[in-house]
């Protein structure tokens, strides 16, 4: 369904010194810089698959999404989406895809969403009956039927995002690109959007590429995860494999009744202490978990204790700080 080979995108910009003198200088002489946003990226996604594309800011995720949808043209490499080359921008291709950007809106600000939906109906040549059915179906699922006739500018961010999703899916696309669809939303709104995407995917068996900074999105929706760093693919595999990338350590948290002053025993397990030193998070190898936990419970005033496999947030955070770990572990 989605295939890319050695996809590369370079952008050119220029350096400018600050202030008026810098501006005047740049008028006559500019030092151009070429930045490689995506570097030889190869990927294959099958029909019905939903994958999470993760990476820090500036890693190249959005650039990839824009190349996938044909908004920008790659500097080199090949892409095929549902049998089309996106940069050729064929009408049939544009009817097969949808892009949702959490930070941009395709709804008209000054009119109710329903007016924008009617425009989209004409753009995508959606049959009237099918259009009404899809509006009803998605509107009910997202719980926004009573928002359709309210001016978009009067809606909350969460309500607008739900309507953005509806707008993007009205034409029943085969491939959906979700670029941070839950950004800026509160926890309940995030959960609603995730639930909707999950249900929609289950029902329609479409391919979805999702980028998000919220690991909960990835956890809830994706079995496969791709990590992009510095424009290059750093990891491509199952979510469960990713979670064990730093080894089979367990994430353990101890809460104490009083402040703990002697930290020596915890030093070997990469401790993260709370400000008042009454709580510590540790990464403990599976083999040592039992003995060490018993020791802490015996020697310290523990009031709470929890353990979890390495949470994806921690893996991401560690990898972002030390990307070389990927090379060592893969």
């Amino acid at each position: 369904m989605i295939k890319t080979s050695l996809l590369t995108k370079n952008f050119q910009s220029y350096k400018k010194a600050p202030g008026i003198s810098g501006s005047i200088k740049s008028l006559f002489k500019r030092e151009y810089l070429t930045k490689t946003a995506v570097d030889q990226f190869t990927l294959e996604v099958t029909k019905g698959e939903i994958i999470g594309l993760l990476g820090p800011n500036g890693a190249g995720k959005t650039t990839l999404m824009k190349m996938f949808t044909g908004i920008i043209v790659p500097s080199s490499g090949e892409i095929s989406i549902a049998g089309h080359v996106p940069s050729q921008r064929e009408k049939s291709f544009r009817k097969k895809i949808a892009l949702v950007m959490g930070q941009k809106s395709q709804l008209w600000w000054d009119i109710p969403a329903m007016d924008s939906f009617h425009l989209l109906q004409k753009f995508y040549e959606i049959d009237k009956k099918a259009f009404e059915n899809r509006l009803e179906e998605m509107g009910q699922l997202l719980g926004v039927m009573d928002l359709l006739h309210i001016h978009v500018r009067k809606l909350s961010l969460g309500e607008r995002m739900k309507l953005e999703l509806m707008a993007s899916l009205l034409h029943s696309p085969e491939v959906i690109f979700l670029d941070e669809p839950t950004i800026g939303l509160d926890l309940i709104a995030q959960e609603n959007i995730r639930k909707f995407i999950f249900e929609y995917h289950k029902k329609n068996n479409i391919s979805i590429i999702l980028t998000s900074h919220y690991m909960a999105d990835v956890h809830a929706l994706c079995k496969r995860l791709i990590l992009i760093h510095g424009g290059q693919k750093a990891f491509d595999g199952k979510l469960s494999t990713f979670e064990q990338i730093l080894g089979k350590d367990k994430s353990v948290s101890f809460s104490f009744r009083n402040e703990v002053n002697d930290h020596r025993v915890f030093e070997q397990f990469n401790p993260t202490w709370s400000e008042n030193k009454t709580q510590v998070d540790l990464l403990i190898p599976e083999s040592e978990l039992r003995n060490f936990s018993a020791q802490v419970l015996r020697d310290f005033p523990v009031i709470d204790f929890s353990t979890d496999k390495m949470p994806i947030e921690k893996v991401m955070k560690t990898l972002m700080k030390n990307p070389q770990i990927l090379n060592e572990n893969l």
């Binding site: 959005t62 920008i72 009408k91 009119i111 924008s116 425009l119």
Partner: protein, 260 residues
């Protein structure tokens, strides 16, 4: 074609919804247009109180030319004007991304997206003025039949030339200078071709034929023996349409969108 008409109907509908949400602005725009049309006509009236002819044309002929250009201007205001002004912002902010995804030609989706409903009311006014001065000149039947066709050809040539100018925004990003250049070109077409020097006239009739927009059709309507003007408008439409589409394709390849 039906697809485009259906979409355009929705463009009009959504823009009406937006415009009528801001009633005072809507009324002001209608009044400003009327003020512009009246001041243009009164300026010519005033000039002809002091002279009897301007070049080869007398007062009625020049008023016919001016009213022809007012119709073109009104069509421009109704159909295209707003879109030109927002294009630069759309390119800089990446707002154009969603437009490029729509399954319709991007030139249409970008330049025809913001029809200006307030100017539609004045279409009747400008057409009335054109018919008034046309009947004062006692145009023959052929001229009356060709008039709507020539208005459309002139409008389409103006649109093509302005889109060509605006396409440079994809390279330059900042569109203010480009929009002023576009407006200046439009301004040049608002006067008859014969007022310009030989060199300038040649350049503006052939190299960048902005003078063909108004002068050429009016020359032909007033004197059918000047058929070369008619051919010129038709040829310019074809040639510059090809140039526009080619440049547009290059611009879209050049487009880099904006960071999110």
């Amino acid at each position: 074609m039906k697809h485009y008409l259906d979409v355009y109907k929705e463009f009009i509908s959504t823009n009406f919804s937006v415009s009528l949400s801001f009633r005072t602005s809507f009324t002001l725009l209608v009044l400003m247009d009327i003020f512009f049309y009246l001041s243009t006509l009164l300026t010519i009236e005033f000039i002809f109180q002091h002279i009897s002819s301007l070049g080869p044309w007398n007062k009625e002929q020049l008023m016919f030319f001016i009213s022809f250009m007012l119709v073109i201007d009104n069509l421009h205001m109704v159909i295209l004007s707003e879109s030109f002004w927002v294009l630069s912002h759309q390119i800089k902010t990446g707002d154009i991304d969603f437009i490029l995804l729509k399954p319709i030609h991007s030139i249409f989706a970008i330049f025809f997206r913001y029809p200006r409903p307030s100017s539609i009311l004045n279409t009747f006014l400008t057409l009335g003025v054109l018919f008034f001065y046309g009947s004062k000149l006692s145009l023959d039947v052929m001229s009356w039949i060709l008039l709507p066709f020539l208005v459309l050809m002139s409008f389409s040539l103006l649109a093509i030339l302005e889109i060509i100018i605006s396409t440079s925004m994809f390279w330059m990003q900042e569109g203010l200078g480009i929009n002023f250049l576009r407006m200046q070109m439009q301004q040049l077409s608002r006067w008859p071709d014969y007022i310009y020097s030989k060199m300038a006239r040649k350049a503006l009739l052939i190299s960048f034929p902005i003078l063909l927009v108004g002068s050429a059709p009016v020359h032909f309507l007033l004197d059918h023996s000047e058929w070369e003007y008619l051919i010129g408008v038709l040829l310019a439409n074809v040639i510059f349409f090809i140039v526009m589409v080619t440049l547009w394709k290059m611009a879209l390849i050049r487009y880099e969108s904006a960071s999110s």
